[in-house]
């Protein structure tokens, strides 16, 4: 066990897999010699050689297309898209190819690739360095979508993703790379070191895909969140003094529907939180599922606290970000409803 930040945990997952499995290879823009603009691949080229970790042209479609071909060969590529905002040039290769090849070849060819990408706001990146596109990928059948909220989960989930035989979109909340950000934009920046989930084994372990974590048990209201918003939800719980049950989905596809339904059936109230724009975000799917499975238990309409339906504005980052105050307000509303 050692203390790791989330970026170190991500790095460690790749290092572990590079040393365990010769089929694993890591590449992307600036990931080789430099170690990535967020330092996720720092030291990997030096340790494992250029053949295992290397730079690519600035060509997200090319990166994913090449990874698919490597996957068909039998490798397990782990590629980095520098910012999730830049994943769109690869959308066709992801939606038409990675997601479909197992099905269309009746299982003859598979795409065991992992596409890592930092997502979300909070670093004044404006509309092209802050997006949360997970909702799009959850609509593409054949893809899995995973989002960690702690160093421990980041490493365990990333290892599971790399070992998974299906294509996984692994989105890393960049605001959590160095600390458990709770959404108080004016507060001091916390470091991971004091957080229990920064205790991370150095070796190999898995956090399975498709299992949510109940990060706080509570009776008054269920809050469904993932990534940065897990910490925001916890802060909102503290700030509001409410007895919320906070669920960290961890993997959106596959989704742990049982844990969700169990909780909402108990609390009868549900708040869904994500940073992505509201309309047709993953919160919509969660709301649709919850209302269907918990209809007779629900005592108030499900509320969504999300990014506004606008691009992420540079200067109004904190007016856009669904912070603890907004989450707490929704919790109160749902509890009163």
């Amino acid at each position: 066990m050692t203390t790791m930040s989330m970026i170190q945990a991500v790095n460690s997952a790749m290092a572990v897999m590079l040393s365990r499995d010769p089929k694993v290879v890591v590449f992307g823009e600036d990931v080789g010699y430099f170690g990535g603009v967020f330092r996720a691949t720092e030291g990997l080229q030096k340790t494992f050689g250029k053949n295992r970790c290397f730079d690519t042209p600035i060509s997200e479609g090319g990166i994913v297309g090449a990874a698919i071909g490597m996957g068909a060969y039998g490798m397990r590529p782990v590629v980095e898209i520098q910012f999730a905002d830049y994943i769109y040039p690869a959308f066709d290769q992801l939606a038409s190819e990675a997601a479909r090849i197992r099905y269309r070849s009746a299982g003859e060819f598979t795409v065991p690739i992992t596409v890592r990408s930092p997502y979300g706001g909070g670093i004044f990146g404006g509309q092209t360095h802050s997006q949360s596109p997970e909702g799009l990928f959850t609509h593409v059948v054949g893809l899995k979508v995973v989002i960690p909220s702690t160093p421990y989960d980041a490493k365990g989930l990333l290892i599971s993703s790399i070992e998974d035989d299906d294509p996984v979109i692994f989105l890393e909340p960049k605001r959590l790379y160095s600390g458990p950000f709770e959404g108080h934009s004016d507060g001091a920046v916390k470091s991971w070191s004091t957080h229990p989930a920064s205790e991370v084994p150095e070796g190999h372990y898995r956090v399975p895909l498709g299992q949510a974590a109940v990060v706080r048990e509570g009776a008054e209201v269920t809050v469904l969140a993932y990534g940065t918003m897990v910490h925001v939800a916890l802060a909102a719980t503290r700030d509001s003094g409410m007895d919320a049950e906070v669920i960290d989905l961890r993997s959106l596809i596959p989704l742990d529907v049982d844990t969700i339904v169990k909780s909402v059936s108990k609390t009868g109230r549900c708040v869904i939180v994500h940073e992505a724009t509201r309309t047709s975000g993953f919160g919509a799917e969660l709301a649709a599922i919850v209302q269907k499975h918990c209809f007779f238990d629900l005592e108030a309409p499900i509320e969504r606290v999300t990014g506004w339906d606008t691009p992420y504005p540079h200067a109004f980052e904190w007016q856009y970000f669904p912070g603890p105050a907004r989450v707490a307000e929704a919790m109160r509303q749902v509890a009163a409803g």
């Binding site: 290879v25 053949n51 690519t56 042209p57 060509s59 479609g61 090319g62 297309g65 090449a66 990874a67 698919i68 071909g69 490597m70 996957g71 068909a72 060969y73 039998g74 490798m75 590529p77 040039p89 066709d92 290769q93 038409s96 190819e97 479909r100 090849i101 197992r102 099905y103 269309r104 070849s105 009746a106 299982g107 003859e108 060819f109 598979t110 059948v141 054949g142 899995k144 998974d164 035989d165 299906d166 498709g210 596809i253 596959p254 989704l255 529907v257």
Partner: protein, 428 residues
């Protein structure tokens, strides 16, 4: 061989001053030489005489052979003789096998086309007139090399000995279909035969092939990859990704552009084939770029061997433009008489690949019209018999498919709860 770089600057007189400007700008929208009802005109097509194009050493630097992107590598002359530096070493038995595969491909196409017309399949795509490319390249490569084809390379599978019965099963989506009715006709897949699952999305396989080749090289393997796209498809981003990655990493891959002059109703000029041949795209990436007569079985074989040798020697990728002609409609959904001269196919200056190989074999003294006819009949009988057998397992119309239950499989390795519940909901 015409190397356009050496042409005189014939337009130079027009605008010598620096700042001449048109009063008004105009957009140029390319038009084919002939549309329906107009006389066929292939005068713009740049041809070289058989045997005229030089053959660089396999290890020559790419920048020393730009002329090859503008010439046209041909081996067979009008009399069926094989001439010039590109004549490949190919025993007659191999040529005969190639001829047989081409004939089987054509016969298969004919039967499946008719079956579609009879409502037994939803769709079909022929490769008539283009058989030499797939068949000859399959012969020129090792069986362990990996192929990333488009929908018009059925010849690869046939030449590699894939059972035509299974292909028919795929076309009919019946119980013989290895793809369990999931794919439209012609979207074959065979891992065993090194034939990657055909995508309905144009172009995507080009960069995938490069990725596969990179993986092979990273693994210290000796297998190379090859991919095929149509000339129309070169306008997709994947073409550019493929050439870029192939160049940067010197990937062991052969990138084929099958220029059959048409992309549904759009002639090759709409894809940018007038300003420069498609082969020339390779120059800018520092890749060897060869333009070959795609209806010349021997020329296709020779350039493929050359490119494969280069790839196997860690000298990287080659771009090959195969100049050919799509003799029939784009697919069963198409009617080419709406947009092109009806007799273009018969006036195509590079002839028919089967006819030309037959002539060569006869010229070589290894073949005769009579034997050819006999083979043709034999092949037709074989395909007809296979068709009967295939139809016994159902056609789209007759709807004898795998269980619809299978529809929920293979979305993921393991079915998640959604798919399990949906399968229940669907009642299977």
């Amino acid at each position: 061989m015409l190397d356009s770089r050496h042409r005189a600057n014939h337009a130079d007189h027009a605008l010598a001053a620096q700042d001449v400007r048109a009063a008004v700008l105009e957009l140029r929208i390319p038009e084919p030489a002939a549309r329906a009802g107009q006389p066929v005109d292939f005068s713009k097509l740049k041809l070289s005489a058989p045997g005229a194009v030089r053959r660089p050493a396999v290890a020559a630097v790419a920048d020393s052979m730009h002329d090859l992107a503008y010439g046209l590598i041909r081996v067979l002359d009008d009399n069926g003789a094989a001439i010039g530096p590109w004549v490949p070493e190919l025993p007659s038995a191999a040529l005969a096998a190639g001829l047989r595969s081409m004939l089987r491909t054509r016969a298969f196409d004919d039967r499946m086309y008719r079956a579609q017309r009879q409502g037994k399949a939803s769709f079909y795509v022929k490769c008539t007139g283009e058989e030499a490319i797939a068949v000859s390249q399959a012969l020129a490569l090792e069986n362990t090399d990996m192929l990333f084809p488009s929908y018009r390379q059925q010849g690869l599978l046939i030449a590699r000995g894939y059972p035509i019965l299974k292909m028919m099963g795929q076309v009919y989506s019946n119980t013989l279909d290895p793809l369990k009715g999931r794919q439209m006709p012609v979207m074959y897949s065979s891992r065993e035969h090194g034939f990657f699952s055909v995508s309905g999305n144009l172009g995507t396989q080009f960069i995938q092939a490069v990725g596969w080749a990179m993986a092979s090289a990273l693994s210290g393997d000796s297998r190379i990859a090859a991919s095929w796209i149509g000339e129309g498809t070169t306008a997709e981003g994947d073409f550019h990704y493929a050439l870029t990655f192939a160049s940067v990493y010197r990937a062991p891959v052969i990138l084929n552009v099958v220029n059959n002059q048409w992309a549904i109703s759009s002639f090759q000029g709409i894809a940018g084939g007038e300003a420069a041949p498609f082969a020339a795209r390779g120059i800018g990436y520092g890749l060897p770029a060869l333009r070959v007569d795609g209806n010349d079985f021997l020329a296709v074989y020779a350039v493929t061997r050359w490119a494969a040798a280069r790839a196997r020697a860690n000298l990287g990728a080659t771009l090959i433009e195969h100049v050919t002609y799509r003799s029939e409609g784009h697919s069963t959904s198409d009617d080419p008489s709406r947009y092109r001269a009806a007799d273009e196919a018969s006036k195509w200056p590079l002839g028919d690949p089967i006819e030309r190989l037959k002539r060569h074999l006869i010229a070589r003294g290894e073949w005769s019209e009579a034997r050819h006819e006999a083979l043709q009949n034999e092949v037709k009988q074989e395909i007809r018999a296979l068709q009967r057998e295939a139809e016994a397992s159902g056609t789209l119309e007759a709807n004898t498919t795998h269980s619809p239950k299978t529809m929920f499989e293979d979305v993921y390795k393991d079915m998640d709860w959604r798919l399990q519940r949906q399968r229940q909901e669907a009642g299977f």
